[in-house]
Amino acid sequence: MYLQDLHREGECRWRIDPTGAMRVPAVIYADDALLTDMDDKVRQQLCNVASLPGIVGAAYAMPDAHWGYGFPIGGVAAFDAEQGGVVSAGGVGFDISCGVRTLLSSCTREDVRGFQERLAHELARAIPAGVGSTGRLRLDDRELDAMLTGGARWAVTRGFGSVEDLERIEEGGCISGADPGAISERARRRQRDEMGTLGSGNHYLEVQWVAEVHDADAAAAFGLAPGNIVVSIHCGSRGLGHQVGTDYLRDMVIAAPSFGLTLPDRELACAPIRSGIGTRYIGAMRAAMNCALANRQILTHLCRESFRSVLPGFEGQLLYDVSHNICKEERHTVDGRSRRLHVHRKGATRAFAPGDAAVPEGLRAHGQPVLIGGSMGTASFVLAGCESGEALAWSSACHGAGRSMSRHQATRQWRGRELVDQLAGQGILIRSPSLRGVAEEAPGAYKSVERVVEVAERAGLARRVARLQPLICVKG
């Protein structure tokens, strides 16, 4: 990234003052190395976001930021409906409510030794993954509506998981204000066979072990004991969410002139929160969020079944489930005054501070768990929200390592078979229907997740609790 007009405001914080159409500054959280490696397009996209109506505070980029569609991935922006603020379909993206959930167990790495191959086989067999895969469920229109309004709560009532799971999911597993009537027939049709599927690309189900504890008190409260096995599931709202993104992106682009909106980039398609299309999108997006929560709940059930067929004592209780492609209405303090804002987090994770009432009771004293996905073969992290995050970026943190090269570049550099063999040599079993897909997701195609989370901590966005290392990775 070119550094002209970037003002250093701290060890890991950089500000770009408003110029031209920008209404607020742009702020990037990065150290010198991450900033230098960041794509120039992040800067351009962040400044575009800063020009949208009703934006409050600043447009923020997290340490894992990279070039996205309209918003940078790793972008955070809040809008005030009272000030003509907008909701942006591009600011949420195509994979609405993509997120991570992590399951705990008292099984240790030693318990899994000797069963790793069998476990990998069982999980790969049970978890529908990749292009063309279908789930076990077929929902008729009535059931689909129930799922879109009920989220993970619906899934539990249908026998997938337990009521205890719901306490450890954002909003108790059910996003209120969902409007199934705002979902198109195409979106419904795309979801018909996809409930309980993982998807492809960077989505995965990973068996991991707690390799390092950074904050012993928080780790103990979170149930993360050194050496213990955990499972992380990374996926989103599947075809329904993709189609909702497509539908409303187009509709908002077409409607923009009627609201007097001049979009610096059509991908920033947005509409006033208090408009017909803005209201419909929010209702549709919330329904898609419920779809993602229900999907992860079903996958959790399938995962537990597979595990228990190999290790009967596996509990798999939920640590937490948090999304990183969302727009949520939240209350935040602006210049000493509490205001209701629509916070867009695109490739960024909510990170509420200790004591926040939205954090489940058993975890509350230590802050909201922030689940940072790895990149097949590399570490994942559990962070916790901290006090300073509210003033820095509306209580938000990073979401993963972030790509450092394109899929095409990755396939020129790595071969899938070699990667699978190489990782097996390191004790990590990869199960995927596509070796080309594995090459495209090569760990080397991503930034260093260690550096990203370290910078997030130094910046005051969140603090590290534990590092997780992979043992088995099921990918699409």
Binding site: Y69, G70, G90, G93, F94, D95, G130, V131, G132, T134, R186, R189, R190, R192, D193, G199, S200, G201, G239, H242, Q243, G245, T246, L249, R250, V253, I254, D265, R266, E267, A269, R407, P433, S434, L435, R436, G437, E440, G476
Partner: protein, 124 residues
């Protein structure tokens, strides 16, 4: 993704082929099924967005991959077909599913040599 052709329609066909190439090697695909596609938009850029997303929809809901496309554009309306077969994971080893065509770098324009260029960034 980028497709070029003597007409916008040809450029659209080539862009759809590039979409397939993101998922699998188009040479592995058999010509077993034909799916009609119709869409309409106020300008060529939006029509490309609609066309590619219609292809993505047919791929997703039909569990199919397409290795051949035919497009006709008249007065803002596209009439086309996609030809291919059902996904066979062992033979196609599909790398990634396409979530949708985006507005990022979306453009349909005529180059100095008179040929048409259609381009778009996909979300995968």
């Amino acid at each position: 993704m980028e497709g070029r052709g003597d007409t916008p329609a040809e450029a659209f066909e080539q862009t759809a082929m590039a979409l397939t190439a993101v998922v699998t090697d188009p040479a592995t695909l058999r010509d077993e099924v034909s799916v009609p596609i119709r869409c309409r938009a106020p300008d060529l850029d939006l029509l490309l967005f609609e066309w590619l997303n219609a292809v993505v929809y047919e791929m997703a809901t039909g569990r199919r991959l397409f290795g051949g496309f035919r497009v006709r554009i008249t007065d803002g309306e596209l009439t086309g077909e996609a030809r291919g077969e059902a996904v066979d994971v062992s033979r196609h080893t599909p790398a990634v599913e396409v979530k949708g065509a985006t507005f990022t770098e979306l453009s349909v324009r005529r180059d100095d040599d008179g040929r048409w260029r259609a381009r778009c960034v996909l979300d995968v």
